[in-house]
C-alpha cells in the first residue's frame, strides 16, 4: 500500500464523521439563523437579518446575556480568588493538602445532573441548608431557588462548587512550577507572606491565569444543564442564561431560526471575549519568553 493511500484511508473514518455531524450542522447553523422557520420543512422562509434584528430588541436575550456576564465577573473572580488561595495553602504539602488533592475533583467528575439534583435538595425550602438556618434561630429562611432575589446567586455558587477543583488544580500546578530558588531569593530580599505572594508568585502565574480565564469564559457561556435543571431560568426569568433561552425558543416554542441566531450570538460573545483576553495577556509582564 502506497503512502498516499495509507494516509487517505487512515484519515477517512474520522473525516467522514466529522464532516457530516460537525461541519455540516455548523454551516447549516449559519444558514438557519437567516430563516423564519418553525420546523416544518415546507414553511422555511428566508428573512435575512430579521432574527438578528429581533435579537437586538429582545429584552429577555439581553437579560440572559447579562446573567452570563454577571456569573463570569462576580462568580469568576470568586472562583479565581479562592482557588488561588487554596492552591497557595496547599504548597507546603502535608496530609491535609494530600487529602484535599485526592478529593477536589469529585464534583467535576460526577454528572452535572446529579450535582443539580443534589443542590436542589440542599437549597429546598425544607432542605439541608434551611433546616440548619432554622436550627440557628432564623424563623423564615428564603426559599433560595424559588426566590427571584437569590436564584441566580444560588445557581452561580453551585457552579463555583462544581468547577472549583479544576481551577485549584490548575493554580496548584502553576505554583508548583515556580522554582524553589525564586522563593528563597524572595525570602532573602525580606519579602514574605502575602507580600511575597503579590510580588513574586502572582505575576509568575501569568500563563496559568490566561488559561484559567479562557476556560472560565467558555464554561460560563456554556452553562445550561445546571440552570435548566435547578430553576429552568426562573422564577420569572431571574436566572435565565443564554443557552436555556435558546433551548426554550427551539424546543418549546419551535422558533428554530431564532434559536440558531441566539446560538450564533453566543459564539460571537465567546470569540470577542477570547480575543479580548488574548490582547490583555499578550505580553508577559515578567518578561519571560514562553
Amino acid at each position: 500500500m502506497g503512502r498516499r493511500l495509507f494516509v487517505t484511508l487512515f484519515l477517512l473514518p474520522a473525516s467522514l464523521l466529522y464532516s457530516v455531524f460537525v461541519i455540516v450542522p455548523f454551516v447549516q447553523a449559519v444558514q438557519f439563523s437567516g430563516y423564519r422557520w418553525r420546523g416544518l420543512s415546507m414553511k422555511k422562509k428566508f428573512v435575512g437579518f430579521e432574527n438578528y434584528d429581533k435579537l437586538l430588541h429582545d429584552s429577555v436575550f439581553w437579560q440572559s446575556l447579562c446573567h452570563n456576564l454577571l456569573i463570569l465577573t462576580v462568580c469568576g473572580a470568586l472562583i479565581v480568588f479562592s482557588s488561588v488561595a487554596v492552591a497557595h495553602a496547599m504548597r507546603p504539602g502535608g496530609t491535609v493538602a494530600k487529602v484535599l488533592k485526592s478529593v477536589y475533583l469529585f464534583p467535576q467528575v460526577v454528572s452535572l445532573v446529579a450535582v443539580a439534583v443534589l443542590w436542589q435538595f440542599v437549597l429546598n425550602p425544607q432542605g439541608l441548608l434551611n433546616s440548619l438556618l432554622k436550627g440557628a434561630g432564623i424563623a423564615n429562611p428564603p426559599s433560595w431557588l424559588g426566590d427571584s432575589r437569590f436564584a441566580l446567586a444560588a445557581v452561580a455558587l453551585v457552579f463555583a462548587w462544581y468547577v472549583m477543583g479544576f481551577y485549584t488544580m490548575l493554580f496548584a500546578a502553576g505554583i508548583q512550577s515556580v522554582p524553589a530558588e525564586t522563593f528563597e531569593a524572595a525570602e532573602l530580599d525580606g519579602s514574605a507572606g502575602l507580600n511575597r505572594f503579590w510580588r513574586v508568585t502572582w505575576p509568575l502565574l501569568w500563563p496559568i491565569k490566561r488559561v484559567a480565564v479562557v476556560y472560565l469564559v467558555v464554561n460560563v457561556t456554556n452553562i445550561f444543564a445546571l440552570v435548566a435543571l435547578m430553576t429552568r431560568g426562573g422564577p420569572d426569568r431571574a436566572s435565565e442564561v443564554m443557552l436555556t433561552y435558546l433551548y426554550e425558543q427551539a424546543f418549546t416554542n419551535s422558533q428554530f431560526g431564532y434559536a440558531t441566531a441566539i446560538g450564533m450570538a453566543n459564539l460571537v460573545v465567546i470569540m470577542l471575549m477570547a480575543l479580548g483576553i488574548m490582547m490583555y495577556f499578550r505580553k508577559d509582564p515578567t518578561g519571560a519568553a514562553r
Binding site: A14, S15, A29, V211, I270
Partner: protein, 272 residues
C-alpha cells in the same frame, strides 16, 4: 500556629467538597419523608429497597444499561479512528495536513448548543433521532477533536526510529501502526478513553435533544426525569439511590486512575 491555621482552612474545603456526597449516600438509605423531614438525621433503619425501587420501578436499571452501551460503543469506535488520524497527523505530514488538523480542532471552540438545532434535523432526516446509535455516532463525532489532540501528543513523543526500523523490516505502513506504534501508545489510549468515557457517561444536553423516549434514556436523563415524576409520588428514597447509582461508577474509576486523570487534564489545559 500558622500550620494549624492552614490545616483548618484546607479542612473546611475538604468538608465543602465531601459533605454533599456523604449526605447523598446516607440519604439514599432513608425513607422518602425523612430525607426532607429530617435531613441531618443519620439513617437508623437502612432502606436497602430504595436501590431496588430505583433500579426496577423507576427504570434506572434500563437507563444504566443504555448509558453503559452508549459509552462503551462510543469508545470502541472513537479510540481507533482517532488514533489513526492522530498518527497520520503526527508521523505523515503532507501538504495541507496542518490545515486539516486545525479544522479538526475547531470543534473544541464551538459550543454544542450552536449546532443543536441543525443536528436535530440532520438526525431526523437520517432516521437516527431517538436511537442509541444516533446518540453514539454524535458522541463519537463530538469527541474526535479532543481525542485526536491528546493522542497526537502521545504519537509525537514516540521516536521516529522505531517506525523507520519496522518499515525497513518489511512492515507495511498500516501494520507498523497496528503492531508497533499503537501498542506503544497504550498508556495514552487508556487515559483518553477514561477521560472521554467519564464525560460521555455524564453527558446531558445532547442526549436531552437526541433521545426523547423513556426506554432509551441514558442515566443523566433518567435521573432528571425521576426528579420530575417522583414529585407526585414523593419517593425521594429512590431518587437518592439513583443519584448514588449515577455517581458511584465515575467516582470509583476516578479514584483508581486519579493521578493519570490529573496529568491528562493539566496537559490538555495548559498546552491547549
Amino acid at each position: 500556629m500558622k500550620k494549624l491555621g492552614i490545616g483548618v482552612f484546607l479542612s473546611v474545603f475538604i468538608g465543602v467538597v465531601v459533605l454533599p456526597f456523604g449526605w447523598v449516600l446516607w440519604s439514599s438509605l432513608k425513607t422518602g419523608e425523612k430525607i426532607l423531614g429530617a435531613p441531618w438525621e443519620l439513617p437508623s433503619d437502612p432502606q436497602w429497597q430504595n436501590f431496588a425501587n430505583a433500579w426496577q420501578k423507576a427504570g434506572i436499571g434500563t437507563s444504566f444499561i443504555n448509558s453503559l452501551l452508549v459509552t462503551l460503543a462510543s469508545l470502541i469506535i472513537l479510540v481507533p479512528i482517532s488514533a489513526m488520524a492522530a498518527y497520520v497527523f503526527a508521523k505523515y505530514p503532507f501538504k495541507g495536513s496542518k490545515l486539516i488538523q486545525s479544522v479538526f480542532m475547531g470543534q473544541m471552540m464551538v459550543p454544542h448548543f450552536l449546532v443543536i438545532v441543525p443536528l436535530f434535523f440532520l438526525l431526523r432526516d437520517f432516521h437516527m433521532l431517538d436511537s442509541l446509535w444516533g446518540l453514539t455516532v454524535v458522541y463519537v463525532a463530538y469527541s474526535l477533536s479532543f481525542t485526536i489532540f491528546v493522542l497526537g501528543g502521545f504519537f509525537h513523543a514516540l521516536p521516529n526510529e522505531l517506525m523507520e526500523a519496522a518499515l525497513l523490516d518489511g512492515c507495511t505502513h498500516s501494520s507498523t501502526f497496528w503492531k508497533v506504534m499503537l501498542p506503544l501508545a497504550k498508556p495514552g489510549l487508556l487515559v483518553v478513553a477514561i477521560f472521554v468515557g467519564i464525560g460521555l457517561w455524564n453527558e446531558y444536553s445532547l442526549a436531552l435533544v437526541i433521545v426523547p423516549s423513556p426506554e432509551k434514556k441514558t442515566l443523566p436523563l433518567g435521573i432528571a426525569n425521576l426528579t420530575m415524576t417522583q414529585q407526585y409520588q414523593s419517593d425521594w428514597g429512590a431518587l437518592f439511590a439513583g443519584l448514588v447509582i449515577v455517581m458511584a461508577p465515575v467516582l470509583i474509576v476516578y479514584w483508581l486512575f486519579r493521578d493519570k486523570i490529573h496529568e491528562a487534564m493539566l496537559a490538555g489545559a495548559v498546552k491547549g
